[in-house]
């Protein structure tokens, strides 16, 4: 990060990971209301750029850029970045219906606002599917006063659970709703669609997606041969349409 002393490669990677984890956690807590969806850290030798993806970028920037400057100052002080070596940018999330973090936060606020469980979850489910997702799963778990602990699960569409496609296609987020009586857990899983352009989802198709190619229409096949006379028509030519096959056999009969 900002240190100039030599550290071993192993420690560097670990330190980077810890940095990203702490940063992500900080933004999740701080920018929950602004629909924080993720951040990206780009390191160049001159400076470090942090790009914050959120649904309400205007609120992240604040009044005349005040909020984002405050965040920048906090991060600079915490991680001991030298002056002006850190830049923060806010970017609007393209498809917020496909971001599990944004949807989990939205569900959290809906529940806190007093919406019925079913209505809130179906609202999220419908929005996600309308945004073009392949599948969505919302789970709300916990014990509320005067009910047994339970997990309420709402699903729509298609979901995969294992393998590398799980990592590529499925976006997963967990949020806690803190209530007076206890804590509710919200888990949102969104399966992104296959998008050859790579914007809405991965550009690599699922490994078990099979695309069949239509056979090209074939023209008449001429049977030519150096030897004149009777010749065997090879078995492959049985696939041909009847007419050319008949022609060929007539020729051969000569």
């Amino acid at each position: 990060m900002a240190s100039t002393t030599q550290i071993s490669k192993k420690r560097k990677f670990i330190a980077d990971g810890v940095f990203q984890a702490e940063l992500g956690e900080f933004f999740s807590r701080e920018l929950a209301e602004e629909g924080y969806s993720g951040c990206e850290v780009r390191v160049t030798h001159a400076r470090t750029e942090i790009i914050i993806r959120a649904t309400h970028t205007q609120d992240v920037l604040g009044d005349k850029g005040r909020r984002i400057r405050e965040l920048k100052a906090l991060i600079e002080k915490r991680f001991k970045f030298p002056e002006n070596s850190l830049e923060l940018y806010a970017e609007k999330v393209q498809f917020r219906g496909l971001s599990a973090a944004a949807q989990a936060e939205s569900l959290r606020y809906k529940l806190l606002g007093g919406l019925a469980m079913r209505r809130a979850c179906y609202g999220v489910l419908r929005f996600v599917m309308e945004s073009g997702a392949k599948g969505c799963e919302v789970v709300v778990s916990g014990k509320l006063r005067a009910a047994r602990a339970k997990s309420m699960k709402f699903v729509d569409g298609f979901m995969i659970h294992s393998g590398q496609p799980n990592v590529d296609y499925v976006d997963y987020a967990v949020r806690h709703v803190l209530l007076r009586q206890g804590v509710l857990g919200i888990k949102v899983k969104i399966m992104k669609p296959y998008d050859p352009e790579g914007k809405m989802g991965p550009s690599k198709n699922l490994p078990d997606a099979v695309s069949l190619v239509e056979p090209k229409p074939e023209g008449a096949i001429e049977v030519r041969s150096e030897n004149k006379g009777i010749q065997e028509i090879p078995q492959q030519q049985q696939q041909q349409q009847a007419a050319p096959a008949q022609e060929a056999s007539q020729e051969a009969a000569y």
């Binding site: 019925a116 509320l144 005067a146 009910a147 602990a149 309420m152 699903v155 209530l179």
Partner: protein, 218 residues
């Protein structure tokens, strides 16, 4: 064996009353009513530590001679019984007990005590309050059960003589209402012939209605 021994199943009620009705919440009633069905024909179910406002509504709801309702806590109820029941004959069903419940315990105990603890996952160990009173304990396995399931399982072990691990269970069942909605109950239930969990009658509808509540209603 002549007439089956009659046991007393005592539930020390520990849940708060419903704020608006000052009586037991609906799902507690459903589970308590279910217990009456699951015990043997000569056994009875006692509910202790009930609030005075909840006794009459519960008695009307249960409407059964097998159910006895008390406002006193367990120790008082044991003293007041005729003849008074010695503490040594009371078995507390306690997840943290060292020994497992077995058919032989039918000889040692006449009364089985449960904390009417309804529902935390992971369990908050409210049985601890009863454990301090010094009863002998037995556990019913590692996975938490609903209180009515616990009573049912005790009856099967003690009155029917079946060992604990020979009872068919289903753990953490998922109850589906339609293609989109389901509820997973993080408890162990006894399984019926179709390998489905045995729930109190009316519980499935109650769970479905839960989905329409807001967090304030809970």
């Amino acid at each position: 064996m002549s007439t089956p021994k009659s046991f007393r199943y005592v539930i020390e009620h520990m849940e708060e009353d419903d704020a608006s009705t000052h009586a037991l919440p609906a799902w507690v009633r459903l589970e308590y009513a279910h217990m009456l069905k699951r015990v043997g024909s000569s056994s009875s179910v006692h509910f202790t530590s009930l609030s005075s406002t909840s006794v009459k509504p519960l008695a009307d709801y249960l409407n059964s001679p097998k159910a006895q309702l008390h406002t006193e806590p367990i120790l008082k109820m044991l003293e007041k019984a005729s003849p008074p029941i010695p503490q040594a004959r009371v078995c507390l069903l306690d997840p943290r007990a060292p020994k497992e419940l077995c058919p032989g315990d039918a000889e040692l105990f006449d009364v089985f005590l449960y904390g009417g603890i309804l529902g935390d996952d992971p369990p908050r160990d409210r049985t601890g309050e009863l454990r301090k009173l010094g009863f002998e304990g037995r556990h019913l396995g590692a996975t938490q059960m609903t209180t009515d399931t616990a009573v049912g399982v005790t009856k099967i072990v003690v009155e029917d003589g079946v060992k604990l691990n020979e009872i068919p269970y289903v753990d953490f069942p998922t109850i589906s209402f339609n293609a989109h909605e389901s509820i997973e109950m993080p408890f162990r239930y006894v399984a019926d012939e179709k390998n489905e969990p045995i729930l109190p009658p009316g519980m499935k509808e109650h769970l479905k209605a839960d989905l329409d509540r807001t967090i304030d209603d809970f």
